[in-house]
């Protein structure tokens, strides 16, 4: 592999990893704070992508569409938490698994009814349509760099929010001791609603951001869900920092494995996960 190709693949890996982080961050946040394993997280990613397509068709602007989609996702999150998730806080994890699997069915069915089964595509917004030449043949699209920067931005905001704001303080407190937070007179249920809604929104935003560079198809959520779980588990459940590091790791390993060991590339991220869990059974950054 030449140096220039190596560098290109490095960028590819980082970019993929950053997108994975964006999707996985919501999952790990919700698990960390609420202890809920949301298997329907991938469906939210799918919903985000479909919403982005729908509103681009109707408003013509990607920016407007992104904002509307994010707001709708937030509302879906609040609704789902209030009506369904809330009933199951005192039940065991497996009931939550069953509930969220039921939700996957419902979201998939709704997607089929509302938008049909044809593959859809969103074009890259005009203002971000250019590309930067890398080699004679290869260039790098501006939009993908923009998405990578967006992911870094969101990571920074999350870091700031969790470590420096009141909400973040409550989140951290809720993670370590639910009863104590309640004793301090804080409505933990409201906190949970907010956190769950943010988690849903993060998944949907990832779907919106990915829409112009992927194909929008039924079942797109399930495939990404497993990869996200790999990321979250390698990083240590509930750790945002862990998810960030793990996402980059998975992105890089997957990218380089595709080129260097193609025979094993399908298994590589699972080998990585098994290996890390055997060394550190709680993931890299477990609390």
């Amino acid at each position: 592999m030449t140096t220039s190709l190596f560098l290109v693949q490095l960028i590819n890996g980082l970019q993929y990893g950053l997108l994975l982080f964006l999707i996985a961050s919501g999952l790990t946040l919700v698990f960390g704070v609420m202890g809920i394993l949301n298997l329907a997280h991938g469906s939210m990613y799918m919903v985000g992508a479909y919403l982005a397509w729908y509103f681009v068709e109707h408003t013509g602007s990607f920016g407007v569409s992104a904002i509307i989609s994010a707001i709708i996702a937030l509302l879906i999150g609040i609704f789902v938490e209030r009506t369904l998730i809330r009933q199951l806080y005192r039940r065991n994890h497996l009931d939550q698994v069953l509930l969220t699997i039921g939700m996957i069915f419902v979201f998939n069915a709704l997607q089929g009814i509302l938008w049909g089964n044809d593959p859809l595509g969103v074009s890259v917004p005009e203002s971000l349509a250019g590309a930067i030449p890398l080699t004679d043949v290869l260039e790098y699209p501006v939009y993908r760099i923009f998405v990578a920067l967006l992911c870094i931005g969101i990571a920074a905001v999350m870091y700031f929010m969790i470590n420096k704001t009141r909400l973040g303080m409550l989140i951290r407190a809720g993670e370590s001791n639910r009863e104590m937070v309640e004793c301090l007179g804080i409505d933990i249920r409201k906190l949970y609603t907010i956190v769950f809604a943010i988690g849903v929104m993060l998944a949907a935003v990832a779907g919106v951001a990915a829409a112009p560079m992927s194909s929008i198809v039924p079942g797109m959520g399930e495939h990404i869900l497993i990869t996200c779980f790999v990321v979250v588990v390698i990083g240590g459940m509930g750790s945002i920092k862990g998810a960030f590091v793990a996402a980059l790791l998975v992105g890089l390993v997957d990218t380089f494995a595709s080129v260097l060991v193609p025979q094993l590339s399908s298994m590589m991220i699972y080998i990585l996960m098994a290996f890390i869990l055997l060394l550190k059974p709680q993931g890299l950054f477990s609390s």
Partner: protein, 320 residues
Amino acid sequence: MLFNKRTERIFIWVFFPLALLMPLFLAENAFYISKMTSVMIFALFVMSLDYLVGRCGLITLGHAMFYGLGGYLFWMIAPEYEAVNFWVYTFYICMIASAVALVIGFLVLRTSGIYMIMITLAFAQMAFYFFSDSIEFGGNDGLFIYVKPETSIFGLSFFNLDDPVHFYYLCLLSLFNTLVFFRLLIRSRFGRVVDAIHENPGRTTALGYNIFLFRLMSYVIASALGAYAGYLFTLQYGFVNPSMLAWTTSGSALVMSILGGMGSIYGAILGTFVYEGLHYTLEHLTEHWMLFMGALIIAMVMVFKNGIAGYMEKLLEKRS
């Protein structure tokens, strides 16, 4: 008494006689026989998972690996155009699956909770891609089994596997035996230790038990039975496909097991029949069956605190 819950006894007395008599009424419709057979085979698989998840507290999302392995192993070790002995190959397949489970269990049981879910998934995905990527194993399109085994013991043969009704009874017998086996296991000394580990691992360790060893044994037993179920599935239609090992197969089994009532063992049969029954009914009624299926699953989680078995027990058990 072996079956110490009244609900379980009622269930057994209703289900097994009905299942025993069913072919007499429906023998002319080959489909009902084959559908019942495949649901029973999957119920056996779910039961092995239910023991692991419900009784041992070991949640796995990789159990389908053994289900698929059961099928592929038969293709690998049996000669292509020669009828082998069913019982001998059952033994071989369970032994090989146990050996695999021993190695994998040794690795995955160091973790627990969500991490164990994921590491079992990791191994299952590796196995899935191993079979679906290799041309020698038929790749994505799977493989055919052309000759079904014969079932003689000491020259006596009770089942002819080419006859769907015979195969049906073989699967019914297997299901019943598995249920009795798990009940005996749970009642045994071994089972009581496993229960204690599930309740309180720390205290059980303090009593001098090596909990890792007990968990490993449970994992091996459940995996061998899972492989047996996969072996039966493969024999039913003579067809093996990597989708048997897919995580969605593990996921469905987990759903059925939770639905039936975790750890109740007979609930696995309930969960599987209810899930498959709903699926079959809904997909023949409407193209949007997923919507109703999803809504029903959600409703059932809300209503049943401990699955269907738990709900029935609430109605039928005498409060004491």
